[in-house]
């Protein structure tokens, strides 16, 4: 189902398709009309997407059809092999990962995995990991270190799962460990916020030397709905919370939380996943190139300096 603010675009697209069909069927030359409509579509798309509110971007970040980690893996890598299990308790389908080849270079990757439909989403717990998911991520960090392969993390979660099973197995403990483990990587680490960057469950695999964000993704300390429920005692105030939290790519670049925005094609990544992944590939290859000459110690200091500097306060 299209998002509310996308409706005019979709209607216009339908009109263009109808005209094209008529031209074909009746052998008419409607190229002028079609050309005008296409120009109008482009203009409208630009207008709508330039003026997106933070809440609309949150909706885009969650839009069905937006590339998930495995969609990205399919198109970004020349080949990849998914590895499963935390070697302790279970395989968490909300986090995936494995070995891959990116532009000829071997890498290890992990990422939150949402479902592409309701059935899959239930199986993947809507991309909300349990502790075993983070243990799988840490196991893959160990592998990256041992093999000396760059580590890529794709972030797309509303948050770590807040349920009894997760708490019993030490959700907080394992997130802390994962942050620590990632900060200790001896290899270049790059994190990409693909869609939703919900709180500690996102940061657990977000301690990169570089942190990239897709143009319409969000990243914050809490989801707009939960923030609204706490501060306004009403989840329906999510739109206000989304604006207050400064969670869009541009805000985060200004705050220094992310290093680079990966542009999405007009209409957003969910309407053109190939285009979005092409832009992501370009950015990742460039960023990995920047990091490739740094040794383990230099990489640690690079990460430390980056995160140590984050925060805003005044000396008295």
């Amino acid at each position: 189902m299209p998002l509310e603010f996308e409706r005019p675009l979709i209607e216009l697209e339908e009109k263009i398709r109808a005209l094209e069909a008529t031209a074909r069927e009746q052998n008419l030359d409607l190229s002028e009309e079609i050309g005008l409509l296409k120009a109008k579509l482009e203009r409208l798309e630009r207008e709508i997407f330039e003026g997106l509110t933070p809440w609309q971007r949150v909706q885009l970040a969650r839009a069905p059809g937006r590339p998930t980690t495995l969609d990205v893996a399919e198109r970004l890598f020349e080949e990849y092999s998914e590895l499963r299990g935390d070697r302790a308790f279970a395989d968490d389908p909300a986090i995936v990962g494995g070995l891959a080849r990116l532009a000829g270079r071997r890498v290890v990757f992990v990422g939150h995995q949402k479902g592409r439909n309701t059935k899959e989403n239930i199986a993947r717990n809507f991309g909300m990991p349990h502790p075993e998911g983070y243990r799988k991520a840490m196991r893959l960090m160990d592998l990256a270190d041992r093999e000396g392969l760059p580590f890529l993390a794709f972030i797309d979660t509303p948050g770590a799962y807040p349920g009894i099973s997760a708490e019993e197995r030490g959700q907080a403990w394992v997130i802390a460990r994962s942050i620590q483990r990632m900060s200790r990587l001896k290899v270049p680490a790059v994190a990409v916020i693909l869609g939703e960057g919900g709180s500690g469950g996102a940061l657990a695999i977000g301690v990169g030397n570089r942190v990239l964000i897709m143009e319409n993704a969000w990243y914050s300390v809490i989801s707009p709905e939960s923030c609204a429920a706490i501060l306004w005692r009403d989840a329906k105030e999510a739109e206000r919370a989304a604006a207050a939290l400064k969670l869009t790519a541009r805000d985060l670049l200004e705050l220094g939380v992310v290093d680079r925005i990966v542009p999405e094609p007009g209409g957003g990544a969910h309407r053109n996943p190939e285009g979005a992944i092409r832009a992501l590939k370009e950015a990742l290859v460039e960023v990995l190139g920047e990091l490739e000459d740094l040794d383990a110690e230099a990489l640690w200091w690079d990460r430390y300096r980056k995160f140590r500097a984050l925060g805003a306060f005044a000396e008295t």
């Binding site: 019993e168 030490g170 403990w173 802390a176 500690g200 301690v207 140590r308 925060g311 005044a314």
Partner: protein, 284 residues
């Protein structure tokens, strides 16, 4: 109700001036306690053992050797990086808490000796915005860890926090990474890091520096976890089991080293610090 109100009014009128409240009701068992007795018992109810929250200065008194404490926090104050307004603007909220606690943010601490072990002792203040971690709390913890490493001190952190502070958005989230990475200097020098989790310790604090300690102590009955019980209840739409996310539950699940009564905490803490601390320690 009405009678109670009448009594209260009469008493103040009769004495004609403000009198300090001498009695206090235990939060759990409801028994009337003489306030001085409760204070002398370190905030622990003598009847039911409930651990009441105590002021941060009291924590320093309980844990630091007499005359050894020297505050290092308080030199930085919070700002409003997002221009955050919810039901009230963030700067006004901050001003209110600053006035209430007399401190710039939700943390207090400094150099101390604990059982003779040179230490950095940091205490989170639940009375200030629910002990939430924004840029200042994160920075003070990072500085505390760096100070401990630089001066070869143990690091002891007493936590009490609802988690990361919403009003500073992603910058609060980043404090989890910052504090975690600053601990590295303490670990590299083989200096001990002990955390004491008090009621409540949840969210971004539990999911970063608090649970990365060499030794984790918790107070009896403290609520400790990642998500708060309200959020979990909303997610699963069921009531939570008795004792869920309490210290005793977590001890059973292997998440803590010990649940320690506040009145026994100092000797327990001193024992592990002395066993872990690599340098010379004065005789106890």
């Amino acid at each position: 109700m009405a009678i109670e109100r009448l009594f209260r009014r009469r008493r103040t009128r009769g004495e004609g001036r403000e009198v300090p409240e001498l009695w206090i009701r235990c939060e759990r068992c409801g028994v009337q306690l003489y306030k001085k007795d409760l204070e002398q018992n370190l905030g622990v109810c003598p009847h039911c053992g409930h651990h009441h929250r105590i002021p941060v200065e009291d924590w320093v008194k309980i844990l630091a050797d007499e005359g050894s404490f020297e505050a290092t926090t308080g030199k930085i104050r919070p700002v409003d990086p997002l221009g955050f307004v919810d039901t009230e603007p963030y700067p006004e909220r901050l001003a209110r808490y600053q006035q209430k606690t007399g401190r710039p943010d939700a943390i207090y601490g400094g150099r101390a000796k604990i059982g003779g072990v040179p230490s950095v002792l940091l205490v989170m203040d639940y009375a200030f915005a629910g002990g939430s971690m924004g840029s200042v709390v994160g920075e003070e913890i990072a500085r505390g860890a760096e100070l401990a490493a630089e001066e070869e001190r143990a690091l002891v952190i007493v936590t009490a926090s609802g988690g990361a502070r919403m009003q500073e958005g992603a910058l609060s989230l980043m404090q989890m990474a910052k504090t975690t990475m600053a601990l590295e200097f303490v670990f590299q020098k083989r200096l001990p890091y002990v955390s004491v989790l008090t009621d409540p310790t949840t969210g971004g604090v539990t999911a970063s520096f608090a649970t990365l300690a060499d030794v984790i102590f918790a107070e009896p009955g403290a609520l400790i976890g990642f998500a708060g019980p309200r959020v979990i209840k909303q997610t699963i739409r069921q009531d939570l089991p008795e004792g869920f996310q309490r210290s005793e539950f977590l001890l059973k699940h292997g998440m803590l080293d010990a649940v320690v009564d506040r009145r026994q905490l100092k000797p327990e803490l001193v024992r592990v610090l002395r066993l872990l601390y690599p340098g010379e320690v004065d005789a106890a």
